[in-house]
Point group: C2
Amino acid sequence: MNRQELINLINKKQSFLCVGLDSDITKIPQHLLKEEDPVFEFNKSIIEATLPFAVAYKPNLAFYESNGIKGLISLKKTIEYLANKRQECFMIADAKRGDIGNTSKQYAKAMFSKEGDFDFDAITIAPYMGKDSVMPFLDFPNKWVILLALTSNEGASDFQYIEDRNGTALFERVLSVSQQWNTSKENLMFVCGATKAEKFTDIRKIAPEHFLLVPGVGAQGGSLKEVCKYGLNKDCGLLVNSSRGIIFADTSEDFDKVAKEKARQIQEEMSLYLKNI
Amino acid sequence: MNRQELINLINKKQSFLCVGLDSDITKIPQHLLKEEDPVFEFNKSIIEATLPFAVAYKPNLAFYESNGIKGLISLKKTIEYLANKRQECFMIADAKRGDIGNTSKQYAKAMFSKEGDFDFDAITIAPYMGKDSVMPFLDFPNKWVILLALTSNEGASDFQYIEDRNGTALFERVLSVSQQWNTSKENLMFVCGATKAEKFTDIRKIAPEHFLLVPGVGAQGGSLKEVCKYGLNKDCGLLVNSSRGIIFADTSEDFDKVAKEKARQIQEEMSLYLKNI
């Protein structure tokens, strides 16, 4: 999915909600455990319920890898299921990969090709290893890198806020340097956590047009209103993720209905903010 | 495998060689492609041939993930095969993972438990997300985190050398700050690339006792002699990796004999350096 198609989808659904499929098998509704592939059945129901209100899905690979090969088969089935709706949603591999060039090339093949069994639109990448760890992903047309800039966790302060001699914080350098790598707003997004919404002012100075993937709203304490106040741009420019707040809002047999209602509430709030851009 | 067992193994084999299993299916000997699982057959032969001369094996997960579920089954079989020799080698998942706490906990389960289908001794981690992205891995007894400090690729210069107001480079901060995280030389190593051997003097000032995993010798241009000159400590303190220089040294039916000879040559050189510590 390219940038214009994503913007069109946001306008059509009046939503920039990304649903995080952190589908922890120990947290899904008990009644699904009797199914042959409980995680896939769970994802399918969540997707069916939330698709009218969400523009993106973001499986977190850790929650599949932790179930071994079986978990990755659940993920493969989920991606195939989503691929049938690919005009309706943007598919993000939350994988936090990144390695030297010849290795990143293999990760790109893993996430962006049929040989790798997954066919995501985008992947999250850690920037520590620099340019050649990022570029191989962009050799795939219409695929995206979502580079970690400012994350939503406590450990973000260990390195991301460190300032150089000119007062530029590491996350600010990631935002600016990566734009010099023969990338563009057509294939590069940034992860910017919602827990420090006021930082979006600084972020928008450096990356006014890029899409930002925003985790941390909901369970991690970030405010959607604040994020939108400082982060929205004329094309929207945000994908705001909610995982636990939607998918585990209820664990009864009605979990999908409750997830739908939670997604609908967020979409409704988002539609108000979209009116003002 | 704990630190003392690793040191004992190094002393016994007079080697600190780590063989990188970057087992790219497009580069393995052609005659293996007729096997049911060519990558596993390749790994088995390489391990059999090099085990007398190597103390560690490091499958690079990208090269398995790029073959999809099938690739991960090859990896699972490789790890099970290695696990039968676990007194004889240290097993490293070269995975460059790292995410917020609840997600890193899942990655730890993926790499360090039977549920996750893999039972590695150690995993490589990118430090960008800080303390809570690292600690969940250390909840597993006798398992190790190998944190990226200074990598061997060109992109290392994009962020790792950036100095703060006091002249401390980011990689130096990673080395020092991570030692304050309730870690120890018993469960934390660092990745330090061989391509800038003189940097090992600075690294050893900050981390005199920790083991360092050193990629970049061989195909990437680093010198074993230089790395040892500046990097060895009284317990050895190094695991030097070679991937392509051993596993793809030959692609005929004699590939394993050539790999064995390459590993033997490196071990012989290493044994000389070990005499002087």
